[in-house]
Structures are given as structure tokens and as C-alpha cells.
Amino acid sequence: MVNDGNATLEILEQIDSGLYGRVFRARQSELDRVVAVKVIRSEYSHRVDAVGHAKALARVGVHPNVVTVYGVEQVTVEEVKMPAMVMEWLEGEQFGTRLGGPRFSEQEVRRICMGVLDGMERMHEAGIQHGDLHFGNIILLADCHPKIIDIDASQNRSLGRLSDISREGAIASDVDYCRQLVQRAFAHSVLIPSLVNQLDSKLQGVMSLADIRAIVEWTRDGLQSPSYSVPIPPPTPETAERLWTKVQEYIEGNRPASLQGLIMGQTRLLHDELRSDRFKVTGIEVTPERVRERLVQYEECAGLLLPALAIGCHWGDESHWNLWKQCIETAANCYEDLGFEARSGMVHYLDLRQYPPLLLFYASALGAFLNERFKTLRALVRNLNTYMRRSAATSLSSCLTGGQSKSPSGTNMYSTAIGDTTRRYPITSAKSCTTSSVR
């Protein structure tokens, strides 16, 4: 592709290809800046007007949540001369792609929703209907700052040409796109599902962007923690079996890095499970039966992780200690995140608090025992011994079966167990795992 104007556009690479056009990353040498160049496919050039498209977006002006259009230049693509829209280059990823990645934090999800709403409101103020706000038309920059990058280029999206009734319909269409986007963004957030369900209910039947904005604002402090609800079906045995097969493959292939990644993935899965309302206990009477039931559920859930933990001790020398430690720390964090309050008489809450780290400790120890990795077992016992001395727990099994807690303080038992006074443990990436000795 070459441009026919005075300014030189050096095409660096094609980055996207859609129904109506293609997008390239290019350099404007005169201005020494990287830009995005969109050309309309020649077969659609009779239907899509790049100049009109650019004009429409340009009417929005410079807005932090809408891509900035620099201008239109004539280019030749495959020997056909056509106008191309030159736009601001955005370094980020499409919202739709990001949905396959890590969950959004609460701050990130609100930033995305508010940013898109700001951008859409600006477009409507400028008399433009977007008409095609799908998940690929939003780019998330660093810190999940959103930018709307496109409008439906196949139609005249000027609201000014429409009657009042048609204009309302056109805007309602955009509102619906935004509603769907907000729903998907929150569904992919760290908020527990029942809270997202509350949000979904509120979003039903919204009529304007202002309504959606008010609902997103409401999530800051309006979400109510739910009561204990009907349990979700536990993971199936096949899940554990598949995991087991995978672990074996990694062992036979001597791929510790892969196993490490797998375990951290499973830990995150556990984290997500724990964040679900399945493990939320608030505003209800906590009876021993209910606690026992929840422990059983917990064990089923932790089952996703435990085979990996246990068999991971196949390599169980000291060098893998940090990996196990991270997994256990992560589980401890999960529990902290659940926000159980230690109150007088609520001993069962305390049981629940100390259950996951101990369960994981136990699993690691059993894995080490079965694989005759006694150095690992020794290291685990030394830590567990420290924990038991400090917590004055007389029976480990009582912790694992929902018996009486011996800790009146309600502190994070695992923090004291490993002699670390820090209450919070970041979920670290597999890359940050280091190998070190445990003595």
C-alpha cells in the first residue's frame, strides 16, 4: 500500500481485517508518529464512505474515550486508489479479547463502564449514533482505560437526519449495546456472581445511558452481600481425572514450569470458587450442620487443586517449597477476601477461616508421604508445628472436620504458621516463583 498524498505513510503491519475494511499500523514520517490507517475494501467502496465515516467520528472531537481522527488520505491498495482514514494509534487490546483474560478488579470494571458511557454520551451530544458498539470496537488501554474506535461505517449515523421518533430508536439501540457491555464487564469481574445478578436485574429495562451510569455508580456501595444460597453443583470427578492426567503428562515430560503454571491456574480457579456466593455466609444462623455442609462443599471445590498439589510433591524436594507456599498463601488470601468476621461465640467462622490453608498443608504433606519425599514432609511439619504451637490447636483433624476451634483471636492462622506478620499475600505469577531451600 502506498499513499498518494504529500505526507508519507509508512505501513508497518496489518493489524485487523473486518467485513468492510482493513486496519494497518503505520508511521507518519513527517510528524514522526505512529497512526492507525483504515481503508475500506474496494468491493464495499460503493456502500461505505471513508470520508463520511471519518467526518462523523471527527465531529466528536477529541475525547478521552473516543479514538481521535487525524484526517483522510488517498492511498493505493492492490492497485486501487481509495481514501483511508488516519487515526490515533492505540496500544491495548480489544474488550472482547480481554474477556478471555484475568477478571477485572472492581476499579477496572467501573473505569471501563464509565469510560464507554462517557464516550457514547459525547457521541450523542455530537449528533452521532454509534450503531455497532460490539466488543471488538472498544480498545482497553493500560489500566483498562476504554476507547471507542469505530462506528458502523456502512450507514449514515448522523442523528440529525432522523425524525424525533427514529432518533429515540437509534439512541435506544446504543443504550442496549452499552447495557450488554456493562453486563459482560461485570460478569467478568471479581465481584461474586450473586452481586452481578443484582446488577443484571437492575439493568433490565434501562432506557438511557444516564440510567446505566446511575447503576454503575450504585455498585460502589449499593451491592448487598447475599444470604447463603443454593449450592452450585460441585466439580465432577472427571474434572479431577483430567487434571490428574495432565499432571502425569507434565511429570513424565519433566516439565516443572508447566506444572507450576497449572498449579497456579488451579489456585486461581479455587480463588474464583471461593469468591462465589457458594461460600458466602452472612446474615444467617450458622449451625454446626450448615458449617459441616459447607466444609464438604469446600473440599469438593478444593479437589480441583489438591491432586496437583499432592502429586506435585513427586518432585518434593525443598526447591519446590516456594511453589507450595504460594498456593497455600493464595488459599489463605481467598479466605481473607471472604471477609468473615471473628466475633465472640462464632467459633464455626473461625473453623472455616483456618480450614483451607490447613487442608492444603495436609494435601501437600500427604503427597510428600506417598512419594516418600521426607525432606519436604519434614519442612511441612516444622511449619505446621509452629502453627499449632502458636494457635494452641490441639488437634489438626478437628480443624479439618469442623470441630471446635482453639483460636479465640480469629487471626489468619496461616500468617502465623509461616511466621509472617503480613496478613495479605499477593497472588503472584508463576514467573515470580523462585527456588530456594527451606531450612
Partner: protein, 114 residues
Amino acid sequence: MYNVLGTVVPVRAAFEIQFDRFEYFLGLMFCAEQQNRKPEDIIAPTGTFLWRRAREPDFGEKFIAQARERGDEWPPFQAGIFDKNLPAFEYVVGLFDEYVDRERARKGVRMPRR
């Protein structure tokens, strides 16, 4: 635990034996760490073997026999546990068996006379 770790030892009966051996061994290791304490001050985890092996008071003897047979080659000794010697290990087994007896009495578990 069987539900989640059954994949490691798929047969339930075999798993139970292994699991009880594991819990017992874990208790021994805790005792070994605390053997300079008074016996009544020792804190060690117990487990379902308290009930399940109540009629097998020689549970620890099996470990001792294994250690005696393999000598220095016994993996726990090689890992530096129990001071790497049989007499120390036998002492810890005795210490833990006493502890287990007390726990059984406290929990009302019937057991045969030794």
C-alpha cells in the same frame, strides 16, 4: 479427603490404610519435634486412625519393623528425621503411642488392653 485425593490412591481401602499410615507418621514427626518437652505438653495431630486402628495397637510397630529392616537406607532416616537412628525412632513411637492412648481415652474410643 478420599473424595479429593482418591486419584492418588484409587482404591478406597488402600487409600484408608495409606491415609492412616500418613496421619500416624505425621503425628510421629510432630512428637519428634517436641521430644524435649514433658510428655503431657506434647501437641500432635491425630486422625481417623484413632478409631479405625483402635484394634491395631501395633500400628507403630510396623514402622519400627520397616526401619529396622532398611536401617540407614530407610527414607525418613535419610531425610534426617528421628535423629537418623532406630533407638531415637523407637523412643518417639513410644511417646506418640502414649499420646494416642490419652487421646483415645479423652474421646472415649474403646481399645484392647496392651
